[in-house]
């Protein structure tokens, strides 16, 4: 095919810049070969532009296509999902670069670039990535104006960037209004999430999981309480997955299918109506003062959310399960914000435990940990009440066990080996063996995982890090329902009361082992305050930009009073119109100035008006010189200040027709003198 259209130099330069910048932003996602393909395509295109190489022929295009598909198959084992889509778009854009024969091809390519630039934001949503995406959008816009530009030359290469900057910066005010005002809709269909490895509490607990988390300084979530100070650290049990099933080595969640009667989850919000439908909801008693708080969670790619007992949420995307924990409708693939209510006093399922559930929470694998089973049976028989039995076990833990993040490895009978062998461990060992002893003694019990404690930020919110990950136990007692028991607190109460970071503070280096993390240097004052400031910036970014959706309603209510389509439309119209008017005035500033009469002319007209008032009007066909000559010849000379007027007219002639602009000032002076 012969090229009918040669892309302008300025357009080509910025198009290549935009593509490279977008690919660089997606560096972590794309396979390396795509980047190489892109660079090669760019070089080829430049050579085409210079007339050195020609466009690829039909066969070479086919070959490239086949190679590309083969490489895609080789790089990705699946074709649904975000990463293959991104890779496909970037490589397609690279090839399109070699196939631009018309301006419409260029436009298609630019539209693909706009789309891929916004794809970056699905992978990460930090301020830096947001800013970088804006930069990419700027380059794409520059390329867009570049392909329509006709001026050539060195200066013209930069012109599209200037024009693009003007276009984008003038679009920003309206964008802010749209962002604030436009209603957000719920997702239309579920989208495949990213398959990224996630840190944090998992749905299982096997030896070593928590010691790994204990050394991780990453943020898990942030919490801000609406009114007043946050609760004391010993109340901060952020409840996550509840592990009921034990196979001898690994604790795991119960499959929801095992719940025989009614729905497992009651969804919040108005739309679903499922909440009142679940009969077990009535068996929850909440007491004490209700407190509202908001959680901003880091992505986990999982369904569960974290909350204090007893929680409730009006968020339509949040549901409450029978185990009294919160779940999300969709995996938390980006930062997620949700609001929760908290009742510090609660009772749930206090009346009775349904048989199938009792069976689940008493089940133990046969043939494991015989010593522990024997001990439990013996102690339970010796204890009068279940509470006394629990106390006896906790006291034993308190007397003889040590809390450490570096426990020795355990063999097959993990509980026996831990209880009588090493006696050194951390939360997962204590919680696991405690629940085992309870079940062996006939007390219904289960393991709860989540986070415990938090770091208080000076700005008033709480930071929960991965090293706050914790596991504790929950036992069911007749008349009291499910009750939290934390065996770790029996061993190392300061771990619970002071929080993880001060507890581990003595061995601070064991925290956050990667040297780049700022939390490693929390003992250095100014670095720590820098870390906290950066975190505050990130916190406000996540609540106001990323999680604005959940705040939109209250924010608009504060500004508009009542929210209705009319008020929203009015606001959009008013601000949009204002912004457009300002932009238009700026764009047409040159024309508007040109239309205005120059000061010199205005002054002359004024002078003539004053002369007319004095009785000496200028004839319509009379030039300034004729006018002056006529005045000089008449009785006008007898009038006071007539000399000023005549001199002014003379000066006007010089400025206007005599190429002597230096007399302008004198003209103004003399003209003003005449009254």
């Amino acid at each position: 095919m012969t090229p009918q259209w040669q892309i302008p130099r300025a357009g080509l330069v910025w198009l290549i810049c935009a593509q490279l910048a977008i690919a660089a932003g997606l560096f972590a996602v794309l396979p390396l070969w795509i980047l190489m393909v892109l660079v090669l395509s760019c070089l080829w295109r430049i050579q085409i532009y210079r007339g050195v190489w020609s466009y690829p022929g039909r066969w070479s295009k086919l070959l490239l296509l086949i190679l590309n598909i083969a490489a895609m198959v080789f790089s990705f084992d699946r074709f649904t999902g975000l990463e293959p889509l991104t890779a496909l778009l970037v490589s397609a854009a690279a090839f399109k670069l070699l196939e631009m024969h018309r301006r419409s091809d260029g436009l298609k390519l630019i539209f693909v670039c706009y789309f891929t630039a916004s794809l970056q934001l699905l992978y990460e949503q930090t301020i830096a990535v947001g800013g970088y995406t804006l930069f990419c959008l700027l380059l794409v816009t520059a390329a867009l104006t570049g392909i329509f530009q006709r001026a050539e030359g060195h200066a013209a290469t930069w012109a599209p960037l200037k024009r693009g900057t003007a276009l984008l910066s003038q679009s920003l005010p309206l964008m802010v209004v749209l962002f604030l005002v436009l209603p957000r809709l719920p997702a239309f269909w579920a989208v495949p999430g990213q398959q990224q490895a996630s840190t944090g509490v998992s749905g299982e607990m096997s030896p070593g999981d928590f010691s790994r988390l204990g050394k991780n300084g990453d943020l898990a979530f942030r919490v801000s309480f609406e009114k007043g100070a946050p609760p004391s650290p010993d109340l901060l049990y952020w409840r996550g997955p509840v592990l009921t099933h034990f196979d001898g080595r690994r604790w795991s969640q119960l499959d929801p299918i095992n719940f025989g009667d009614g729905s497992h989850v009651a969804w919040g919000g108005n739309g679903t109506g499922g909440k009142s439908g679940s009969h077990w909801l009535q068996r929850i008693q909440r007491g004490g003062q209700q407190r509202d708080y908001t959680v901003v969670m880091e992505p986990t790619q999982r369904l569960w959310l974290f909350a204090l007992l007893a929680p409730d949420s009006n968020d339509s995307s949040v549901g409450i399960t029978r185990e009294m924990r919160l779940v999300s409708r969709q995996p938390v693939s980006g930062k997620k914000q949700y609001s929760v209510s908290w009742w510090p006093q609660y009772r749930y399922f206090a009346d009775t435990l349904v048989p199938w559930q009792r069976f689940q929470v008493l089940k133990l694998p046969k043939g494991y940990n015989p010593r522990a089973v024997a001990l439990a049976t013996q102690w339970r028989e010796e204890s009068v009440t279940e509470e006394a039995y629990i106390q006896r076990v906790l006291q034993w833990f308190n007397r003889e066990f040590t809390y450490t993040l570096e426990p020795p490895a355990l063999g097959r009978n993990t509980v026996d080996e831990f209880l009588w062998g090493s006696q050194r461990g951390f939360c997962e060992h204590y919680a696991g063996s405690f629940v085992f002893l309870m079940r062996a003694g006939g007390v219904p019990a289960r393991v709860v995982t989540g986070y415990q404690g938090a770091e208080a930020h000076p700005d008033g919110y709480l930071l929960v890090h991965q090293y706050n990950a914790h596991a504790w136990a929950e036992v069911w007692l007749e008349g009291r329902g499910w009750v939290r028991v934390d065996p770790t607190a029996a061993v190392a109460p300061e771990r619970i009361e002071q929080g993880a970071e001060s507890f581990f503070g003595q061995s601070a280096t064991s925290l956050a082992e990667d040297g780049f993390s700022l939390s490693r240097y929390r003992h250095i004052g100014w670095l720590n305050s820098l870390r906290l400031q950066l975190d505050a910036l990130d916190y406000y970014w996540s609540t106001w930009v990323l999680g604005y959706q959940s705040q939109q309603k209250s924010f608009l209510q504060r500004w508009l009073g009542e929210i209705s389509w009319r008020s929203i439309g009015l606001l959009l119209f008013a601000t949009g119109g204002l912004v457009m008017l300002m932009t238009l005035l700026w764009l047409l500033r040159g024309s508007l100035k040109a239309r205005r009469q120059p000061a010199l002319q205005r002054q002359f007209v004024k002078l003539c008006r004053r002369l007319a008032k004095a009785g000496w009007p200028r004839a319509s066909a009379e030039g300034p010189r004729d006018y002056r000559l006529r005045l000089e010849a008449s009785e006008f000379k007898q009038r006071t200040k007539s000399q000023n007027a005549l001199l002014a007219l003379k000066l006007y002639e010089k400025v206007c027709y005599g190429d002597q602009p230096q007399h302008a000032e004198a003209f103004y002076r003399e003209a003003k003198q005449f009254r």
Binding site: Q125, Q149, V191
Partner: protein, 333 residues
């Protein structure tokens, strides 16, 4: 491009539109483009852009991603800003018709149309074209006045009105087309198409005072003969050559009387338009030889003379001659 856009509009609607245009934008030799006169609509690319924005919005909604939503807002807002930029590229321009050189019927007439801006802002990619005709693109970069030669196909002799000129631009982002149809009172003179007619004996000037010159062999046309090397180029019959009848040379006999008449009666029984075409062709021949000649049409007489001005005067008479005597005005779009 505008021509294509109107291809499907039925004639009665076009007439209505044309009437509406005449009321809204009456003819003037110089017209300033402003909000009254400029139309803006998204192009195909602009529509595709809106589809793109909706896809990004869908992405944002389905991933519940605030930042992607912000991108969708930014791109929507950019669409609005692009309207203003597209408008500003044409707003404030003064468009005026300068002149058009006369042509022979069937040729393209080039209308010189000037575009100037009152301010110092740069404008790019301003396209000018008549309906169903090629467009000319110009830029106002360093100068604030530019002229374009906008072609229009002539189809009849006499005064030619190409109709409204379309001024349009898609700069800077191609998402919008800003355009206007201006009636700049463009008109140009179309001479009859020269058609070689049958031989006519040059009639001697009537009432001549015997001004005869005996010059040697170069003035009066006598006939054709085969080309021989050394023949003067201006004596070659390019017309025959173009019709692939071989290369012929024109032979000129000595003029008996240099002064001659081009007369309506020379071609009896021929359609009047064709007569004018014959006369036109002969005029061109005669004018080339710098003879003195005059024109006689029913009701029109131009006395003999020579020179460019004279031949133009005659061509003008040929162009504007009304065989019926009545005046007939043709109007295009």
């Amino acid at each position: 491009m505008a021509a294509k856009a109107h291809g499907f509009i039925p004639p009665f609607m076009r007439r209505r539109f044309s009437l509406w245009l005449n009321r809204r934008m009456p003819a003037a030799r110089r017209i300033r483009l402003n909000q009254q006169r400029l139309f803006i609509l998204p192009t195909k690319a602009g529509t595709a852009y809106l589809v793109l924005v909706s896809i990004i919005w869908l992405l944002a909604t389905n991933y519940q991603n605030g930042l992607v939503f912000a991108v969708a807002c930014l791109l929507s807002s950019l669409f609005i800003t692009a309207i203003l930029h597209s408008y500003a590229n044409l707003a404030g321009l003064d468009v005026s018709f300068v002149a058009a050189e006369p042509v022979f019927n069937g040729q393209q007439m080039l209308f010189r149309i000037a575009v100037c801006c009152a301010d110092q802002r740069q404008r790019q990619g301003i396209e000018l074209h008549f309906r169903h005709a090629e467009s000319q693109v110009l830029d106002l970069l360093d100068s604030n006045r530019q002229e374009a030669l906008v072609p229009a196909q002539t189809d009849h002799r006499g005064w030619f009105h190409p109709g409204r000129v379309t001024v349009e631009s898609r700069y800077p982002v191609g998402l919008f087309r800003v355009w206007t149809y201006l009636d700049l009172n463009c008109k140009g003179l179309v001479y009859p198409q020269p058609v070689e007619g049958p031989e006519v004996m040059s009639a001697p000037a009537q009432g001549s005072s015997g001004q005869r010159q005996l010059t040697v062999g170069s003035d009066d046309f006598a006939g054709f003969k085969a080309y021989q090397k050394g023949m003067p180029l201006q004596h070659l019959s390019w017309k025959h050559y173009a019709r692939e009848r071989g290369l012929l040379g024109k032979e000129y006999a000595d003029a008996i009387d240099e002064r001659l008449w081009l007369r309506w009666q020379d071609y009896p029984g021929v359609d009047s338009e064709l007569r004018l075409s014959y006369l036109c062709d002969r005029l061109l021949d005669v004018a080339r030889r710098e003879a003195e000649y005059g024109l006689q049409l029913p009701g029109v007489e131009v006395l003999q003379g020579r020179g460019d001005a004279h031949s133009q005067e005659i061509l003008r008479n040929l162009a504007l001659f009304e065989p019926g005597g009545g005046s007939k005005r043709r109007e295009a779009f």
